[in-house]
């Protein structure tokens, strides 16, 4: 009887693998993440910034800068639409995807923590056949406004922990290579640090340290562009 049963085990699709890898960065749909970003130049600390990111499902993120030099600056991302509020102004301005990329830090690197929402995946080589011993996936942007056009993602075969990610721009130029540090946080294994090595300006790298992650659901009005200028208590807490 046993011999008659088909020898099929459920194999995760490439998209499912990416979804599982995402859980190591964003384990909850509604999350407040505080990130410390350190930019190094020639191995010396060049810039330091702190951001609070309030993430909601359906690609909604509110990024609030906490650094003294730009405290009060906020970026609202709703799907592929972006608004920015500059300190000392009460007027949110709609900005282009390119304006979002400019400035002190690429807010795209901290605001979006789920590749599975932005990219469709294809398994290029399984760990059995790949030279690295990891599952190698090719991620292609399925939406407008994402920071990178494609990503080459390496995942540990058993756990699907992210090991390395190569980020490519619209011009297909390799922009950054990310490596990940894992740690036991709040009783579960999560990404504690992401190091982004700049492949265009090779003497630079950025370390994004996730200082805290906590389930946090903001009222829907905070994701209304007009309300962006109206939440002083959010800046302070």
């Amino acid at each position: 009887m046993m011999l008659l049963m088909p020898l099929v085990t459920h194999a995760d699709t490439a998209d499912e693998l990416v979804y599982k890898a995402d859980q190591y960065r964003q384990s909850s749909d509604n999350l407040k993440v505080t990130s410390l970003i350190r930019l190094y130049k020639n191995d010396k600390l060049d810039k330091e910034r702190i951001y609070d990111v309030y993430i909601k499902p359906d690609r909604q993120s509110l990024v609030i800068s906490r650094s003294p030099s730009e405290k009060g600056q906020r970026v609202l991302m709703l799907d592929d639409k972006f608004w920015m509020l500059l300190p000392k102004t009460k007027r949110p301005i709609r900005i282009t995807p390119m304006q979002k990329l400019l400035g002190e830090a690429s807010t795209g690197d901290i605001a979006s923590m789920r590749w599975s929402e932005d990219y469709s995946a294809e398994l290029i080589a399984s760990h059995e056949t790949s030279a690295t011993g990891y599952n190698e996936l090719q991620l292609t942007a399925k939406r407008k406004g994402v920071t990178y056009k494609s990503i080459e993602l390496s995942l540990l075969p058993a756990s699907n922990e992210p090991v390395q990610a190569k980020f490519y721009l619209i011009s297909e130029k390799l922009a950054k290579i990310a490596t990940f540090e894992m740690a036991e946080i709040n009783g579960r294994r999560q990404v504690s640090k992401m190091t982004l090595k700049d492949e265009i300006q090779k003497n630079r790298y950025t370390v994004i340290e996730y200082i805290s992650r906590a389930p946090h659901s903001l009222s829907g009005r905070y994701y209304n562009p007009t309300y962006l200028a109206r939440n002083p208590s959010l800046i302070i807490r």
Partner: protein, 414 residues
């Protein structure tokens, strides 16, 4: 120098004490020293005793922002302490309540009562839709403005919002124009690549005002914006003696507010940014409430005749000089010219962000140019630059008494 040191010490002590006592608040500071140069080649030129021409000034501001969220009602506030130092006058320090309001949210609705800052406009150099309060877009040191007293009912739903404001409900008969009692409303919505705004206001001075504006994202790099405001009535401060040649001197302040019917203000512009880190903003705006070229010409002719009187006669020089000083009042308006073209370039370099901005008055070929650079560290933001006013002596920017400002700004928020 001792005065500057003393003022800085006071500001820093205030910063330290207030921030340590009120840890739940946010405190910011701004120190903005400026050096100004003055032109002698302008019809408005006068000795220092008639027009104050300080070569060095410094504006120092500490702001305290905070709110006490409460399930029943939320209190929000923004207070500021201003200190102005000048090489020509004594130090001036004053306190402002920029914002102080209570708000209560219920589902999509929010009610606000108190003083609040409102900004409705679309655009960079000029924003006609800022109906509740106007901002000086050309200021060199950005600071919080003083809000308006209001009762507001607002609804924030999905990607749309609607506001109904009763502004300055406590207006007295002595209220200035900017503080007149008004009913104002705004509707905003975002649909795909478009953000659209419609505004309305009614008050006794301007009667009905209706405005429309929006921004559209054309590509990853480029956005287009524009707005238009129609006013049933608007006012201009006109010099009674300009445009005639018989009387050259007035015995009292010669400006009067003149009503005009059916005016409009409009702005159209684009912004462009690229991966190369270069950004451009180009804007044209028309403001019917500013002086026309003809009105400036008439004022310049009057002032030139007043200057000629000084050299032709020895009678009443003080009266003539006082009249020239009065005439110069028009150059202090926030918006000087009807037709304006602005071009701004900036580059997001590693640490320094250089910016070049030129505001051109095409009708008299004069301009205001600002070159600056900004550096942000983790703790501070620093900006330094120079602004020059260029053009013939009978043009708007070339005819100003001031011809250059060298400025520096140090700011931070904690």
């Amino acid at each position: 120098m001792i005065m500057i040191k003393r003022a800085l010490a006071t500001l820093l002590s205030t910063l330290f004490i207030v921030s340590s006592v009120l840890a739940q608040n946010s405190i910011s500071f701004l120190i903005s020293p400026q050096y100004s140069g003055y032109s002698s080649d302008t019809p408005f030129d006068l000795p220092d005793e008639f027009i104050e021409k300080p070569s060095a000034t410094s504006r120092n501001i500490v702001e305290l922002t905070g709110s006490y969220p409460n399930p029943l009602i939320e209190l929000s506030y923004l207070f500021s302490l201003h200190n102005q130092l000048s090489s020509r006058s004594p130090s001036d320090t004053h306190f402002n309540t920029n914002e102080l309001y209570l708000s209560k949210s219920l589902h999509d609705w929010e009610v606000t009562f108190g003083r609040r800052i409102s900004s409705w406009g679309v655009g960079y150099g000029f924003r006609p839709l800022d109906l509740v309060q106007q901002y000086d877009q050309q200021t060199l040191s950005r600071q919080s403005t003083i809000g308006k007293n209001m009762v507001a009912l607002e609804r924030f739903s999905g990607m749309s919002s609607w506001s109904l404001l009763w502004v300055n409900p406590n207006r007295s008969d002595e209220s200035e124009n900017s503080d007149i009692e008004s009913i104002a409303s705004k509707y905003s919505t975002s649909r795909g690549d478009y953000d659209l705004h419609a505004v309305f206001r009614y008050n006794e001075l301007n009667r009905f005002q209706l405005g429309l504006g929006g921004i559209t994202i054309l590509s990853d790099e480029m956005a287009l914006h524009g707005s238009l405001l129609l006013s049933q009535r608007y006012q201009k401060q006109l010099h009674r003696l300009a445009g005639q040649s018989s009387i050259l001197l007035a015995e009292q302040f010669p400006y009067e507010s003149v009503n005009y019917n059916n005016g409009f203000q409009t702005v159209i512009g684009m912004s462009w940014s690229s991966l190369s880190k270069h950004s451009l903003i180009a804007e044209y705006w028309y403001n019917e409430q500013a002086y026309s070229r003809q009105q400036w010409r008439e004022l310049f002719e009057l002032v030139q005749k007043q200057q000629n009187l000084l050299t032709q006669t020895a009678i009443y020089p003080a009266l003539i000089q006082a009249n020239i000083a009065w005439s110069a009042t028009a150059t202090q308006a926030q918006v000087l010219t009807q037709h304006n073209f602005m071009l701004q370039w900036s580059y997001d370099a590693d640490h320094w962000k250089p910016t070049a901005n030129i505001l051109i008055s095409p009708t008299d070929k004069s301009s205001m140019m600002t070159l600056s650079t900004t550096r942000s560290t983790h703790l501070f933001k620093f900006e330094a630059g120079i602004r020059t006013f260029n053009g013939a002596s009978d043009s708007v920017y070339g005819g100003l008494i001031i011809n250059k400002i060298v400025f520096m700004t140090l700011s931070g928020e904690y």
